[in-house]
């Protein structure tokens, strides 16, 4: 029997969830015995080369590129998992959600204290650049999400337990230590 295939991505996230995935330490050797990785920063495969079983999504959507990637994942993965606070709720990037996007751009490129030199008052508008969304969206407000793994970042053990449960079909182990956050 062929191994289940896993894809991962980081949208509007900080890669912390991926770091947490790496925190499974030596179990990563066990993991690659159990699954095959496809599109993912872990193996640097940039585009889907085959249909996958599980997609892990870190981060919410703050621009059109994120939306595009998320939709690709939905198309190519049987099961999508929102991994961590930003994918589930928008997280830190969603702090801008109470502020109109125009004001955010103005602060970032024209008036903010970190703007050293922009005498031409240039705002990034090249067609190659992703378009900024009016607010940061959690993933389930764009596509259907099957499972949610909470945490900032979710603990390595939670990610591990969830992957094992998905791969083996066994019930997910959720001991208190794995889901307590303080």
């Amino acid at each position: 029997m062929s191994k289940p295939i896993v894809a991962t991505t980081s949208l509007a996230g900080c890669f912390g969830c991926h770091m947490s995935l790496l925190d499974i330490d030596e179990r990563i050797l066990e993991l690659i015995e159990l699954v095959e990785f496809n599109k993912s920063p872990v193996d640097d495969i940039k585009v889907f080369t085959k249909q996958c079983d599980i997609g892990l999504i870190e981060g919410g959507c703050c621009n059109s590129e994120n939306v595009h990637v998320l939709k690709e994942f939905r198309k190519n993965c049987k099961i999508l998992v929102s991994l961590g606070e930003c994918a589930i709720m928008g997280g830190l990037p969603a702090l801008r959600n109470g502020i109109p996007v125009k004001e955010c751009l103005q602060e970032a490129y024209l008036d903010g204290p970190t703007v050293i030199e922009n005498s031409g008052k240039i705002l990034p508008n090249d067609d190659e650049l992703p378009m900024i969304l009016d607010k940061v969206y959690p993933c389930h407000e764009i596509v259907k999400i099957d499972y949610y793994l909470p945490g900032c970042a979710p603990r390595a053990d939670l990610i591990w337990n969830a992957l094992i449960a998905l791969v083996t079909g066994d019930e997910l182990k959720l001991p208190y230590e794995v889901v307590k956050f303080d």
Binding site: S64, V67, P100, V101, K102, L105, L123, P124, N125, D126, D127, M131, I132, L133, D134, K135, Y137, H140, E141, I142, V143, K144
Partner: protein, 597 residues
Amino acid sequence: MRNAVQNILKKFGNDRGRLMDILKGVQSELGFVNEEAKKLIAEGLDMSYVDVEQTLSFYHFFTDSSRGKYTVYLNNSAVAEMMGRSDVAAAFEREAGCKFGSVTEDGLIGLYDTSCIGMNDQEPAAIINGKVFTNLTSYDVKDLVAAMRSGKVVSDLITKYGDGKNSDGLIKAMVANNIRKSGDVLLTSHKAGEGMVKALDMEPAEVVDIVKASYLRGRGGAGFPTGLKWDFCRKSNGEVNFVLCNCDEGEPGTFKERILLTEYPELVFEGMIIAGYAIEAQEGILYLREEYEYMLAYLEAVLKGMRENNLLGENILGKGFNYDIRIQLGAGAYVCGEESALIESCEGKRGEPRNRPPFPVQKGYMQQPSVVNNAETLASVVKILKNGADWYTMRGSRESTGTKLLSVSGDCKYPGVYEIEWGIRVRDILDMAGADDVQAVQVGGPSGECIGPKEFKRTICFEDLPTGGSIIIIGNKRNLIKDVVLNFIDFFIEESCGSCAPCRTLPPIMKNRLEKILNGHGVMQDVKDLEQWGAKMKMANRCGLGQTAANPILSTIRNFREKYEELIRKDVDFDSGFDLAAAVADSCEYVGRKPNL
């Protein structure tokens, strides 16, 4: 300013417990309670600035900045919308030249939304500088704004007074009573003192026994047995007991207390006296919602008259009973109709419901045993004492004795107050009100139940359809979900005190989901989610507001499921409703690029 604030503080004995009255006083004087005033109040009451701030910011009618020389609060209840509120609002914005939620540049006119003001039978209605204006049209608005611009006093803008005591010199309101049906318990002639004379001749415990024998249940909606409540209070070990009369009828569509207080204030006060005697209290507080402030001077005069006739004060009617009543004005908060929130408000705090136990009968006002009764409950007590428990139990149904005041509004010919016996069929109410093209009836206001024609045979009583009295009739021409359910959810979002997280956060999320369904992006899962979240609201909130805030959605899904099913997509299981073009439109416009979708 210092002097003005200090005079007000002095008037209320620098008592923190009277912070509501102090804020009201300062606001009447200055038009607002700004930072300087807040500091002076905090200093004068020896409390922290933020404690003053948190009470001030909690209430809709308190403000820390000017809301204009003329402040218009236009009711935005569902029935107001049905009766043409949006035209009136548009006229106000056009004529005044500012949007709702703001003040004109010259500071003359402020326009604000407000939750139901108890005038559902004569909408659209607004409160302008404390005066009520009913049956407004866009023509009226033109005249009103012109009069404001010419500097007229608001009371001079009222040209015609309503019937009954509405035209009394101390009320002078254009409000109509709209009493459509009088029974022989409440809306009938009453000679002041008739009930209390009998009560004062008995032992307090006997009075409680009679109320118990009448099976009278609370008229605010929850229906707790009144005699039992009094008994619990008597058995609590406190230093002093209090009676609180709840006249904070904020449930959209109810206005029966308006009628009771306008036409039968002595009856309500007398009920408070009897309750006070029964639980051996010395002080009663009538909590009057700010929306009814226009009656305040009149009610104070009635109290004065009762004191002069020795129905209140020292040694009442020579029976050795000392008791007096004060009126506590609210400041715009639906949740203050919840008894423990009402108590908090009477103590000058934010109107946040308390954790229970202890119940108010154990630790209520000032941490002393307190009875909180609805005005209608107390008014009924008077007649029970006068005519006896047997006389009373002859009326109504088995578990709901006596009569009930229904506030009927919406799509009908005869909106107004009806005194009926418990056990009346919904269909009979509709006949009386002249409603023939009915899609749905909202029984008990937004927190109650929305029923369709199949259930019009059901009866109004605690055994079947309980209600605090609000009956809103929704005609066939209305879009039930858009015009009614959405409005009700907005109401709960606005009125949540924010203390319990589910009540603070879920209604906005549920509203988004409802809008998604209305926009054609709904799927079956959305309906399931709404049902599931609604069930959580019942479990996870502290007070009745939070527990019932999902009822408009839950009861329409239950009774009008087909209306939801008509709106949702059947071709897919999932539709997020996300629109990329709309989401990038603003940023693309700002940076000057063409969206590349």
